[in-house]
């Protein structure tokens, strides 16, 4: 192992190795242990395995880490297969009822055949249906055997009134749940893209007429979801999705101009700005100079920018699993507050947070 890597932290080795897997050849076993642990913590172990495989490095690695990488790849590939099946089952029901659908996020990457799709740790598939048909879609899926999540009346109400999706559906005995959306951001949030424009630009697939957002809209959706609708806690994985999309779409004729134009039209410039600067800071994603200059028009006011940019870079850098209790708790908490602030106006937000804070969150039991 080179001297540079001996002192490097696991998160920085993780970033370097997904960008250039050849450096994996120079790691010693203690460095491997830290790297694999860090990759697991950030849900990118299977992605690291895919990168090592794609660059022909995997077979040259020491047996123990190679086994761990292959095992992670196997588990994630199974989830991608299940996602394909779940989306197929959902689309079959929707098609019968003549309800159009767009696959979003993980399921969309799978349908698009993106190589990193089979490295994601999916827990559900997301589909969007036209807003006027969302009740029909829910009814049809329930009639076909999916079950609604048991929620207390408050959470039911929260989903129905303030969210952009209905409560998650689950087919008994299957691993992945289904989230049905009618738009890409919460209807009460400060961002108001026009869903009709997403439908108009959507691409069709040969899989039961399931559609996909256009490449530009896919990026904007992922950026909006990450920067405006998540807690930004351990979301390096989501940054990888954006990185992979920009690598895949970036070579298409006119993609970058369309992306910026689309962000302007759909009032999603701010999330695009955050995505571009954070990707450049953390993953050195190749983004054309003109694009980096043009997204400046979407930047927030200077004081906000001065705080947000380094904070986002720090939060979206892989989490180091070693320190306990975990670092960055204060920043994560502020971002959690911010994500709710963005999602709901204050007169709705304060009672909501008060209620949430009174609740205990239940995790999995070790002896279950």
């Amino acid at each position: 192992m080179s001297a540079a890597h001996r002192s490097a932290t696991a998160p920085s080795v993780l970033i370097e190795s997904v960008l250039d897997p050849h450096i994996l050849r120079s790691l010693d076993l203690p460095a491997w242990e830290r790297l694999l642990s860090c990759a697991r913590r950030n849900a990118v172990l299977a992605y690291l395995a895919y990168r090592a495989e794609a660059t022909g490095v995997l077979d040259e690695l020491p047996p123990a880490p190679r086994t761990a990488l292959r095992a992670a790849r196997t588990a994630a590939a199974r989830l991608a297969q299940l996602a394909m099946w779940e989306i197929d089952r959902v689309a079959r029901v929707l098609l019968r009822a003549d309800i159009a659908s767009i696959a979003l996020k993980g399921a969309a990457y799978v349908l698009r055949g993106m190589p990193h799709a089979a490295t994601r740790l999916l827990s559900d598939v997301d589909v969007m249906v036209p807003r006027p048909r969302i009740d029909d879609a829910e009814r049809e899926l329930l009639a076909a055997g999916w079950q609604g999540t048991k929620l207390d009346p408050y959470d039911q109400q929260y989903y129905r009134r303030w969210s952009h999706e209905i409560p998650p559906l689950q087919y008994p005995g299957r691993v992945l749940g289904v989230d049905v959306h009618h738009t890409i951001c919460p209807p009460v949030s400060r961002l108001r893209p026009d869903p009709a424009a997403f439908w108009a630009a959507a691409e069709t697939t040969t899989h039961r007429q399931v559609r996909l957002l256009s490449p530009a809209d896919s990026v904007l959706h992922a950026a909006t979801h990450l920067f405006f609708d998540s807690d930004l806690d351990g979301r390096f994985r989501d940054l990888i999705d954006l990185h992979e999309m920009l690598l895949a779409f970036g070579s298409r004729e006119g993609f970058w101009q369309r992306l910026v134009e689309r962000a302007r039209q759909q009032h999603l410039g701010r999330p695009l700005y955050y995505a571009v600067v954070t990707l450049a800071d953390v993953l050195k994603t190749p983004i054309p100079k003109e694009t980096r200059v043009s997204v400046e028009e979407f930047a927030p006011a200077a004081p906000v920018r001065a705080w947000m940019r380094p904070t986002l870079s720090r939060l979206l850098t892989p989490v180091d699993p070693e320190p306990w209790p975990p670092r960055n708790r204060a920043r994560v908490w502020l971002m959690f507050v911010r994500s709710h602030w963005l999602r709901m106006p204050p007169h709705l937000l304060l009672p909501h947070l008060a209620r949430k804070s009174l609740r205990r969150v239940h995790g999995e039991r070790a002896d279950a």
Binding site: L29, P30, W32, E33, S37, C38, R40, R41, A64, P65, T67, A68, R70, A71, A72, T74, A75, R78, V319, D320, P321, E322, P323, W324, P325, P326, H362, G363, E364, R365, A366, D367, A368
Partner: protein, 305 residues
């Protein structure tokens, strides 16, 4: 060097600092914890296990840490931390050892996809493995503990680790978790066996761990060819009986209760097919350990090539 050859003080210090890298073939597990009593319990139960030096590679890194938050003042708790996350709710601190054992099982079943993981106890005799696949509560732990104390080599009380290339059984020897009545049953059956402290009032009732026989631990690197598949069915007070199970239902029962059959996919299908093709399958209904053991001896004898 084995864990038992270290002083109690030395095990405590290792756990509190760089961790103890336990060799539990086919994996190495690093355990770190500031809890001295946990170090002592680990030292007793993992007495005969080799450990690696602290710079060696560990496949799984587990920390058992004192709980945080307001509840730490009212009731001491322990957290299971793997790769910097806590997949479970904390346990009362005195249940640290059962939590480590259960948590390690959980991690293994989510990770070891290079092998087929059957939910089954495995013991071997004359190099041939007996598979005891069963759901919790059907007595496979007790049965495998009884075999381990009767001259059989213990491979596992929980995991049938099947190599995907040749369908041989890899040992994954661990302390055997005995629950409730089976603790006293084992004490009566094998008075010389070492059973660790009782952990009352866990979610599974009272739990205690049987230290695996030294010979089984020493030979944990030796795979065994599958010899017979027996589905145990404990029925209190029933006479012992055995019944042949045809290959196809045996296939479904074996595949249906594996941890990662679907994840591994086609190689798992081939491995299960090889198992049911190469060895016979039976259901063993039993009400007491001595006659069950005799019936298993018979089955192994009958099925020997």
């Amino acid at each position: 060097m084995t864990v038992g050859e270290l002083s109690s003080e030395s095990v405590r210090t290792r756990l509190a600092r760089e961790g103890l890298a336990l060799r539990i073939p086919p994996i190495t597990v690093r355990l770190r914890s500031p809890l001295g009593f946990l170090a002592d319990q680990v030292r007793t139960l993992y007495h005969d296990y080799e450990f690696a030096d602290s710079a060696a590679y560990a496949d799984i890194d587990i920390r058992m840490l004192a709980g945080a938050g307001a509840r730490r003042w009212t009731r001491r708790q322990v957290q299971f931390v793997v790769d910097g996350v806590t997949p479970f709710e904390p346990f009362p601190v005195e249940h640290a050892l059962p939590m480590f054992e259960w948590g390690l099982n959980w991690v293994v079943s989510h990770r070891l996809h290079g092998h087929l993981l059957l939910h089954c106890a495995v013991a071997a005799r004359n190099g041939r493995a007996l598979l005891l696949p069963a759901w919790p509560g059907s007595g496979k732990s007790t049965l495998s503990a009884a075999l381990a104390c009767s001259g059989w080599r213990l491979l596992s009380d929980e995991y049938g680790v099947v190599a995907l290339d040749d369908a041989r059984l890899l040992p994954f020897v661990r302390p055997v978790a005995l629950k409730n009545e089976s603790i006293e049953v084992m004490r009566a059956f094998a008075p010389d066996a070492f059973i660790g402290p009782l952990f009352p009032k866990t979610r599974k009732g009272t739990v205690a761990h049987l230290r695996p026989p030294q010979d089984s631990v020493r030979r944990a690197g030796e795979a065994a060819v599958a010899g017979a598949i027996v589905f145990p069915d404990f029925q209190h007070g029933e006479p012992t009986s055995v019944k042949r199970v045809p290959a196809s239902p045996a296939f479904l029962k074996l595949a249906g209760n594996a941890f990662n059959y679907e994840v591994v996919g086609e190689p798992a299908f081939r491995a299960v097919a090889a198992l049911v093709r190469n060895c016979g399958a039976w259901v063993l209904r039993y009400g007491d350990l001595a006659s069950a053991r005799a019936a298993l001896d018979d089955i192994m004898h009958q099925s020997s090539p």
